[in-house]
């Protein structure tokens, strides 16, 4: 299980997270929802090792997993799909995958398997990654994280800037990932979709957990209130 214990996070002098406690069980899908600037991306970045955190603030299977860098977190099975896809423009789709595959863990997902299972990837494999549409780029970004064989996949802003059809494509692939037993923490602006795609949710407001619970049957009005802090 991946969890945080009283996690604080800072950008220089600015404190973005205040004593955040969350947990994600193996194979579970958890949604993080909240307004812009609430601290969702910061929480994902902290989990991925991209922010300095105290040693005991993050635990994986009962062991301290904080105070780590991105490479150490990847070795532990925690990978992040960053907001805005952030594919490498100088690399082709295939090269984006190859780079990640070389540095990540070995396991179920390989470059060859992804090219075979996701026809889109094979059809654009030699194109510059950033020459693709937003939806295609999101598929590549998700595949780039998958090829590192994470046990916990952190997905920041799944649908941001994508057409409805592209969002459906991305969630279809997420469904495949879930079926392989990968735990997913997703940040999604569309609250209804986030609740529909997850088993549990955390609503973050100004760096603090304002509400948490099971996604199925969640009181939408209560979630909206926690979302906006009204």
């Amino acid at each position: 299980m991946l969890c945080t214990k009283s996690l604080d996070a800072f950008y220089r002098q600015f404190q973005a997270l205040f004593g955040v406690d969350i947990h994600v069980r193996p194979g579970e899908t958890v949604a993080l929802i909240g307004a812009n600037g609430a601290g969702k991306s910061t929480l994902l970045r902290a989990l991925a090792g991209a922010l300095d955190t105290p040693r005991g603030a993050i635990e994986l299977d009962g062991h301290a997993a904080g105070a780590a860098n991105e490479r150490q977190q990847l070795a532990r099975g925690i990978a992040l799909v960053p907001e805005g896809r952030r594919l490498f423009p100088s690399l082709s789709v295939l090269e984006n995958l190859q780079l990640a595959a070389r540095n990540g863990r070995s396991g179920h997902w390989t470059v060859e398997r992804l090219l075979r299972d996701i026809p889109l990837l094979d059809s654009v494999r030699d194109r510059p990654a950033t020459a693709l549409s937003g939806g295609q780029q999101q598929i590549v970004a998700l595949s780039r994280a998958l090829v590192m064989n994470p046990s916990y996949l952190l997905f920041d802003e799944v649908s941001l800037g994508l057409s409805p059809a592209a969002v459906d494509d991305v969630y279809r692939l997420i469904g495949t990932v879930k079926a392989e037993g990968v735990a997913i923490v997703l940040v999604e602006q569309n609250v209804r979709r986030a609740l529909a795609e997850s088993e549990r949710f955390y609503c973050i407001q100004k760096g603090r957990i304002a509400l948490e619970g099971a996604s199925a049957g969640a009181d939408y009005a209560q979630v909206t209130q926690a979302y906006f802090g009204a």
């Binding site: 991925a48 490479r71 952030r86 090269e95 780079l99």
Partner: protein
């Protein structure tokens, strides 16, 4: 006509050496976004190391590369790890100041150890032999210099385009923060890259030391030619640097035909003129 062709040939081969000087600077700029002002002094340091190893072991300068290239690789990796990595990401001024200081330290160190007398490397038959092609006399050393330069650029091109190291270099150059998210450790990679750059510098140092007498203060001029090749070719453009070096070399030698002492001046003149007409360099991408 023969004289023209000979000057052109000699200019191109001199330019191939300048291109080799510029290779490391181009990689530093293109991937690490750093200008190393000690680059020229490292070329001179390499020439002194070759001189020392060749003298101690009684071997030729090319044979001494078997020891000097690994040594330069280690020096490069250590310099990057212990010094340069600490100033990367702190704006363009910090690396400039640090490498300027490093340049002065290397120059003074060389002067203390070797005095300010000039030295040269004994290349043996390679410096005296030549071939004649279509009535034009071609020196063996310039031919070897060009062949080595092309080979090193081709190897670097292959590494950049087709290897894991090349993919890593391009990813780090694009977006170092995201590169970390896919497991790249940019600072460790930069250490490896600086090692490669200094190993390539060792090759350039031998060719330079055989061709020209050198002294501890000769680094500034080498840096200038390197910089001109890199900027003229288009910042960070590998083959642009190669052709930039050729242009500078040819301009210098045709300039020397006008006035023997003004060769480098004509090189600078062509560099400035080219930049006025094409500020992004000959092979750089325009901003429009």
């Amino acid at each position: 006509m023969t004289s023209f062709l000979e000057t052109l040939f000699n200019g191109l081969t001199l330019g191939a050496l300048y291109a080799l000087f510029g290779l490391g600077l181009s990689l530093s700029l293109g991937v690490m976004r750093m200008i190393n002002l000690a680059h020229g002094d490292l070329i001179v340091l390499g020439a002194y190391l070759v001189s020392v190893v060749a003298g101690w072991l009684g071997i030729g300068p090319f044979m001494s590369l078997l020891l000097v290239m690994p040594a330069m690789f280690v020096i490069g990796a250590l310099l990057q790890t212990l010094l340069l990595n600490h100033v990367l990401g702190r704006g363009p001024l910090s690396p400039l100041l640090l490498t300027f200081g490093l340049s002065i330290v290397i120059q003074n160190l060389l002067q203390q150890v070797f005095s300010s007398d000039t030295r040269s490397l004994q290349g043996g038959a390679i410096t005296t032999e030549g071939v004649e092609f279509g009535g034009v006399a071609l020196g063996l050393l310039p031919l070897v210099t060009t062949a080595i330069s092309v080979a090193v650029f081709a190897l670097t091109h292959w590494l950049t385009a087709s290897s894991h190291y090349g993919r890593t270099a391009r990813a780090v150059a694009d977006d170092p923060d995201t590169a970390r998210l896919v497991g790249v450790q940019p600072r460790r990679f930069f250490a490896l890259m600086s090692g490669f750059i200094l190993a390539a510098i060792a090759l350039a140092s031998v060719l330079y030391g055989i061709r020209t007498p050198f002294a501890p203060g000769a680094g500034a001029e080498r840096l200038l030619y390197s910089f001109e090749a890199v900027v003229l070719g288009g910042l960070g453009n590998l083959w642009g640097t190669f052709f930039g070096g050729l242009v500078i070399g040819v301009a210098q030698l045709f300039g020397a035909q006008v006035n023997t002492g003004l060769g480098p001046f004509f090189g600078h003149l062509v560099f400035l003129a080219a930049l006025v007409l094409r500020p992004q360099g000959l092979f750089g991408k325009g901003t429009a």
